[in-house]
Symmetry: C2
Subunit: 333 residues, 2 copies
């Protein structure tokens, strides 16, 4: 495993994007969002994903020049068309706009249709928390998850992000509606490990902890069985209806072709309601209470986002871990 | 099991509330919300809960005369104080206000502190869907769920409700963050059945499908293990921060004393963005697609809210099923 300094990683990605035709400011932002995802330990949606992002530009899925366009405004709720632009730039723009709307109106919502994969969802949660607001956002995806009671994918895993600002590290939840992503299944299989809990069905329809059996059946499990199945459906309905964009059933079920996604960004203004100090103290008190439980056997109670900060510190100190073949691929895109 | 006609049930509850001192319109609304919950098959939070509600009034937990009071307005986001009033009346008022804010601003949010148990959460989802808006609402609760990695309750199960309007029955998700409620565990145990999936830990810290073992350990499982644990934490943080009310750690861990809850109601205006017909068709297309998957062995793919309509039809035709001892209790409160 290589350890690439953050600045070198960022600058390498930025230069590639500039050469591809990105405007300087958009190249810098796009490179930063990729580099920060790897810095924070979300390797699957950081640099590892960069070569596929470049392919999507080259095969016309992503229009690198496109910027989101306002379609309808109702005041605190706006509908935007992502014009098939880069998913992370579109999502960053949309969260920034939701934050502005929240500052003006109290709560602000941007519904974005016709966009591309936003890469790491948590990015937009950290963005909002840095701005001092509470935020909720989610995206739909191509069908990759069988509904509870079904054995073929008809739901997206529709990642949901919730962020609350706090002094000692924001609290940021970034969860897909499948118990394990295909990326996670692959990691466990490669390490020859069973999943820590049941993660899906095998080809005989039995619940299993064997990652290979789930990859083969294509039947990963929604979080909480029927509950996560229902939640994934609601997130898709809301994203499609609010944005006027596509639903999961209209999205190509192919990782290389997945496009025209729908996303929702909601920001809640805390500033005028509570002093930031109150926010911090209450969030701290809640987390202190949660952590005060005796841990179960050998476990540790963590709040969402806690591990990110540890990884970030380590990776900034030691360099960002990148597989040599990925780094080769990136530098020769 | 008795079968009480809906009108008789409603009127019995209404008269009891009037005798207790409720104003006529508030007695009627409160009785309707209880009766509708049982009508829709949510017996645990319908008539079965009525005797405890009356006790809460008598012991001073619920102030039957109190009405919510506006504390702060930021435009589309308002903070209200529930003044310890009846939880279902407060929640109904708050969702109605969020709907008004959404009609005016696009998205509307009411954060309600100092309220009481809202009974069936789905009530406020159906209310919003009937009004033609998309809505999300949630409540915190007393600590009743150990965080992932911990073995003592430090989280609420914090029910989350999401509703989307549709012609052929609204789509309404009503899910707590525990895989099974204590009520559900008790039902399985009484029927001598194992849970259909793993529902918690036994006293040795092993995952189990035995409901009695989970009741004994008080370690039910969050939906999706670490994921539902994180989601429950975020819902509590948002509810407490936005409302300025109490967090789970400040709520008495006693079913009879549980009070001063915090809740959030968010409504999204679809009317001006899309025609209602479009709403219906897209929601229908999504549901048709989800249901088009071959079912797994002996299963059926359902959308959230589907079962409610079946039960509602049956109970309106045959009367609402009520256990005789509950009916005796209710009539002699």
């Amino acid at each position: 495993m290589l350890r690439i300094p953050y600045d070198e990683l960022f600058d390498t990605l930025r230069q590639i994007l500039v050469l591809l035709g990105f405007a300087a400011d958009r190249a810098a932002l796009c490179a930063r969002l990729f580099a920060e995802s790897s810095r924070d330990g979300v390797y699957s949606h950081g640099v590892n994903r960069f070569p596929r992002f470049i392919r999507a530009i080259r095969n016309g899925i992503v229009d690198l020049h496109a910027k989101p366009e306002l379609i309808t405004s109702l005041g605190s709720l706006e509908r935007w068309d992502g014009k098939s632009g880069p998913g992370n730039l579109n999502a960053h723009h949309s969260m920034a706009r939701a934050i502005s709307l929240a500052r003006e109106h109290g709560v602000g919502c941007v519904a974005l249709g016709n966009t591309n994969h936003w890469m790491r969802g948590g990015t937009y949660g950290w963005q909002a928390a840095e701005a001092g607001v509470i935020a909720v956002c989610w995206t739909n995806t191509m069908p990759n998850l069988p509904p509870w009671g079904a054995n073929e994918p008809r739901l997206g895993n529709n990642p949901l992000v919730i962020a609350v600002p706090r002094t000692e590290g924001h609290v940021v939840l970034d969860m897909a509606m499948s118990q394990f992503s295909y990326g996670a299944l692959e990691s466990y299989r490669r390490r020859g490990e069973m999943l820590p809990v049941i993660g899906g069905f095998d080809s005989e329809g039995q619940l299993t902890r064997d990652p290979a059996a789930i990859e083969q059946s294509a039947r990963p499990l929604p979080v909480g069985y029927w509950k996560g199945s229902g939640l994934a459906l609601m997130l898709d309905l809301m994203a499609g209806l609010l944005s006027g964009g596509h639903f999961t059933h209209q999205i190509a079920p192919d990782l290389e072709q997945e496009s025209r996604l729908s996303q929702v960004f909601v920001a809640f203004n805390l500033g005028s309601l509570t002093r930031e100090e109150v926010t911090r103290q209450t969030a701290d008190a809640v987390i202190a209470y949660v952590k005060s439980s005796p841990p179960s056997e050998g476990a540790e109670v963590r709040y969402p986002g806690e591990q990110v900060l540890r990884t970030r510190r380590e990776n900034l100190a030691r360099g960002i871990p990148i597989e040599p073949e990925i780094w080769e691929q990136v530098r020769h895109t």
